[in-house]
């Protein structure tokens, strides 16, 4: 990963409390897994920034190295990597996602 990509990822994570690296945008996701996570955040009315990795191939590969995680989407909450689609779905279903949002003082619809 080049320095520019790393700095870009750092700045997105540092400047957005909830950011989702995804394929497509929250309004027009381009992959079922990205649809799923973005919908969960919408249902919970969490304010988040979607970052479209399809716009930049360096970013698309770079985020995988950055998180040491091979798939997209990837969700960061307050600088912490929380998981990909399977984990977020599971955490949404068992209530852990709400707990994290609560613990991190983020507003959401309960």
């Amino acid at each position: 990963m080049d320095q520019k990509t790393k700095e870009f990822i750092d700045s997105e994570i540092n400047n957005n409390e909830v950011c989702l690296f995804m394929k497509g945008t929250p309004d027009a996701p381009q992959c079922g897994f990205s649809v799923a996570v973005s919908n969960i955040l919408k249902i919970l009315e969490v304010k988040f920034k979607g970052i479209n990795v399809l716009e930049n191939n360096e970013l698309r590969q770079g985020i995988k190295e950055y998180s040491e995680w091979p798939t997209i989407p990837q969700l960061y909450i307050k600088k912490e990597f929380v998981g990909g689609c399977d984990i977020i779905k599971e955490m949404y279903e068992n209530g852990e996602l709400k707990k994290i949002l609560q613990d991190k003082n983020l507003s959401f619809k309960n």
Binding site: F33, E68, P70, G83, G84, C85, D86, I87, E90
Partner: protein, 81 residues
């Protein structure tokens, strides 16, 4: 490129010998799978660590040949199993 269920199972078994693995071909197209992996290796680890163990067993195929593999990991409780 698609992978078949046996190949996925074999890779996971090689890295996680005690794994109980249930794989489903979700769309019947050899390309969209879900796997439930149960192993004592996951005990006490975070979900992220658990999934990373499965990803590493798949030796870089995840995100490449294997586009769509939904993973669910479960801890194995030795005494009750």
């Amino acid at each position: 490129m698609a992978m078949d269920i046996k190949e996925i199972e074999k890779l996971i078994k090689e890295s996680i010998p005690d794994a109980l693995i249930e794989i489903q071909d979700l769309a019947g197209d050899g390309n969209h799978y879900s796997a439930v992996v149960t192993s004592s290796i996951f005990n006490g680890k975070s979900k992220i660590e658990q999934h990373k163990i499965v990803y590493s067993a798949l030796k870089g195929k995840m995100g490449n040949e294997l586009h769509a593999l939904a993973i669910k990991t479960k801890e194995k409780n030795g005494s009750k199993n």
